[in-house]
Symmetry: D3
């Protein structure tokens, strides 16, 4: 990355392009799904999310992608069931980034100490449900159920 | 804006530049303050925030800046005292965007129905404190106290 | 309004009556729906909500009704999916208060910066779902689905 | 109470008057403190809070005041440190309603299971701090520190 | 209880055993349900929850079980709809601990002042739904619907 | 660990002992600090926290301690400033578990996408403040400031 010593134009492009690279690893359909759902009503939303979340955070140096995804799973669990659809998506992304199912369950359970037992139980239900669905039909995506 | 019919490079540049334009209206020091505080430890943070929050949201068409800032004040109040420093900053930005002190207080009070009375009371205390400080010393910024 | 210079009795009456006036503009069925659902189990609930939320907040001077409703939509989005049924009701009220669909979507999207992307995405899904339902059957109310 | 079979005027008055009765038991200065702090900037706030929170909730039949106050202490603890000033006020009110210090500490500790350990620890710190201050100077009120 | 003057081994056992005693009063199936759902994927989860939540909090001296359960219902309501499944379970436990339906509804309504009206309305819907189901089929448990 | 094939007594002992082992790695003073602060008022609190949080979560197999601590830092950041004192403690624990300062900052920054920018900024301020204090006086603990 050349964030410090490039001109504004290139840096900003970089964020969007880097976001697309990361999103392609986690779910190659991500930008298309977002654009189909939202861009008629809110022009530019798909690009904004890919650039802001993936290009500006996940693509950064300093922490590996798998740990980043486990941290996101932890945070979404602690924030509570209100983020259940996104928790499912990010559990899929954590698997894509190399996390084991057990590692995902462990990080969710631990959240009982920080977000309370209801948050942990809801998170475990989401993960176990997703793992079961993936065993049954390997082509499905967590985005389908949102 | 030319978000729909430009190539990726130009759009992305646009987001950062548009963010800088908006930030300049709300607080001309914003990017400098952020860069001085965070960019040594986290390269690119100032640019990321200006681009993501201001360029990708506040700079959008479809809603005027003053209503956007009042909506932010409402949300930060409802989210609770944990966002007190940012509530102060955004109250300043709401004033810069043309909102009256009374409008800001009204939107905060109304949050008692959605975030609870403690959230509303904490928000009112933050706003009244800031209004008093501004009367006393007009050069200060809410960022100084963070 | 004569809140400052009337005796307690008249002021209190005013709050309930003013709440009914505002509620009538936003959804003429509101108090009846609330009373049918809750007043057997919790005597006085409908009146309490109309008086406290609408009479004591929305009926106040100092901020127009449309901005108040957009601020409520912002706050409910930022608070997260746990308030999805109320978000739908208040999106309907925002439309009734004169807000455009685009304005509502913009204020929801902006909440990605304060309540996180999951909150914004859930809010957009709620709004787009409601807009689609309204196009299909114009007589329905968001209260029906709660 | 005559909520069901009176005319609107009397019912509404009743809520405010009943709120004043309850507030007088918990902290005789409450309405005056609120009015002095907020009513210049937001006319009617003190009356609104007394009527809405105390008249419409605490004054209701169906649950005793002490249990109501312990439930409030539980909820404010679980909601987290953002409500620390209000937690202090309501711990004082719980004591005024007849709760023992130990009962208050127990209800706060239990919240570790629902709001997480940080919420419980912050709540315990608030309670122990308040108990210590009350031992040192019996005339002070939790409202003074807000 | 002999928490202060026993050795670590006996104390820890005590917490698990005491948790089982309390859980047996509230819902005799609780540990079995938890073990069947989670222990294959996360060994020891059922025991952990019984010990940590029931043995270490509900089994403590200093506050009666009914008030503890009402406090939990209050907190889960204020935390919002994200805890809806756990709110149902704890409303059942509150009934098992001797709370009246009206007391449960009152404590939920009161949360409008602390968690906002949406939290209170969602809580009331959960409670009224559960009460209706219990009238129709007395053998069912709130855990079935999770 | 022998959680699956031991009798209840030994398992429960294990949880407390394992909690003490983990706590000793992260902060050897932890149980003593907790006991001195809370055990007079709430007998058994220190043991409960060591057993429940450290023995039952951090001591589990299936995920390494460093990743567990980074996940906790992520969750506390996303939950917001209400958990600032605990965020400081867990940043210290993350360093003790082998995380680099940069990794901690990265995981906090990423939370802007899930808990909002205010949560991320508050978290960064807490981390940078703690890093600066540690450089100045290496013997201090984040627990001292609570």
């Amino acid at each position: 990355m050349t964030i410090e010593n490039t001109i504004g134009n290139e840096v900003a492009l970089s964020a969007l392009e880097q976001g697309r690279e990361i999103a392609a690893k986690l779910n190659p359909e991500l930008e298309t799904i977002l654009a189909q759902r939202y861009d008629d009503a809110l022009p530019g939303l798909a690009e904004t999310l890919i650039e802001s979340a993936y290009g500006r955070f996940y693509a950064r140096e300093g922490l590996d992608l798998k740990t980043r995804q486990l941290a996101t799973v932890a945070a979404l669990t602690a924030l509570g069931g209100q983020t259940a659809p996104q928790l499912r998506v990010n559990i899929e992304h954590a698997l894509a980034a190399g996390a084991a199912e057990r590692e995902i369950l462990e990080v969710i359970l631990q959240m009982a100490a920080y977000g309370g037992w209801p948050a942990a139980i809801n998170g475990l239900n989401a993960a176990l449900g997703l793992f079961a669905e993936r065993t049954e039909s390997s082509g499905a995506s967590a985005w389908d159920g949102q």
